[in-house]
Assembly symmetry: C2
Homo-oligomer: 225 residues x 2
DNA sequence: ACCTGAACACCGTTCAAGT
DNA sequence: ACCTGAACACCGTTCAAGT
């Protein structure tokens, strides 16, 4: 074997907090939060699990940090549009980010140490509503109902054991098999007449609820308390 | 010491699936899902972790079963009321059950093997909407927006790192401390002028969004598609 | 029939050690 | 300065063994 002047620099890209965080995010995207362990993350980066502790304090700090990466992907509400357009665009941007990073849904509003992207996002949404003439109580109402709907929709979409009409047919079969035929007639009708239809996608329901809520907010914002 | 004719029957209440499930639920209620391990559950019941496998197939089967216990606590929509009253009462009953069993929120709609209480609940809700004259597509819209809102609200309430106005003050302090003063002016105003007020409780927001959604559904149900 | 003990392949994290 | 190996106190689950 020829003697090398320098050792092969194959894996010698040095670790950095940024590289740790981006790799952690992609591991969670691919396999869910359960797959994101210090051991698998180290493996993905070509180091032992303990090497990570030079760049993050502990796993909670890691989660704090990658949640802020998700917030950073969400577009702030545009300032050159009416509040309804701005809130609709923001809602769609949040939903899209949550569907790209499903593991993040239950964690987004849970942080005791929110990052700057998180805080800036909340600040911009409140600013948009106040700027449109909402008083503080009405802004709180609006933010609450919008985010509850967006997070709940993302949670349901992410946890439902089916997505398309074909998958519904498959899953419904095994779900109803242990029970007497027609024990749940309304549910059966819902499945066969609606959810099993070829074009069915639960995700399509998002727009209906979003517009309903935006319309309701406009009505209520026009009336004084 | 006196010799006993029979050994002390202190811990000899025999295990049963029902006792395992109810104890599992109370362990999760007290300490969250992370606290519910085969080892802690066994300890609570006075047996080793392996004794549980005689009554449940594995941990997923255990979770399936206790989720159905949560569904069993939810009142079905009353059949002697108009749909709006029935759906409002059902929504409040779901919310109450989820706040009693916070660990259950992300799991309610995730089961590949739903139990009878789960299926009966879905059947009754769809039946209520169809009975009120909703067509199938409109019933799907209504169910989607209502449950997304209820689950999202419960998720947010359960994960928010504060509840009362006093807790907000405490948490906001540590949240904003790392950042320049007044970096987030709208958020700061929201906190000081609204969330830190003595009577504040995020949970009070539930009714506003629920009524907004029910009103919007009534409007849309009256118009033909 | 019902429960146990030891074992296996995993966790997050600490601590002393290597280069 | 940066990374590692061994260890500790945990997981869910299997399997052979005890009564």
């Amino acid at each position: 074997m020829a003697t090398e002047a320098t050792p092969p620099p194959v894996r010698r890209v040095p670790l950095s907090r940024d590289r740790v965080l981006r790799t952690a995010m992609s591991v969670a995207d691919a396999g869910g939060l359960d797959m994101l362990t210090m051991r698998t993350l180290g493996q993905e980066l070509g180091v032992g699990p303990m090497a990570l502790y030079r760049h993050i304090a502990n796993k909670d700090d890691l989660v704090d940090a990658i949640i802020d990466l998700v917030f950073a992907e969400i577009g702030l509400p545009p300032t050159d549009a009416d509040w309804m357009t701005a809130m609709r665009e923001r809602a769609i941007s949040v939903r899209d980010a949550l569907l790209r990073h499903r593991w993040a849904v239950p964690l987004m509003e849970s942080r005791r140490h929110p990052g700057p992207a998180n805080l800036q996002h909340h600040d911009a949404v409140i600013g948009c509503l106040l700027g449109a003439g909402f008083d503080m109580a009405m802004a709180a109402h609006a933010y609450s109902v919008l985010d509850a709907y967006i997070y709940g929709f993302a949670l349901t979409k992410m946890t439902l054991p089916f997505e398309t009409g074909e998958e519904v047919a498959e899953v419904a079969q095994t779900m109803l098999q242990p029970f007497p035929l027609n024990a749940y007639p309304n549910l059966a009708a819902f499945i066969t007449e609606h959810a099993m239809k070829p074009g069915y996608d639960y995700g399509d329901e998002f727009a209906f609820g979003l517009d309903l809520i935006l319309d309701g907010l406009e009505e209520r914002a026009r009336q004084p308390a």
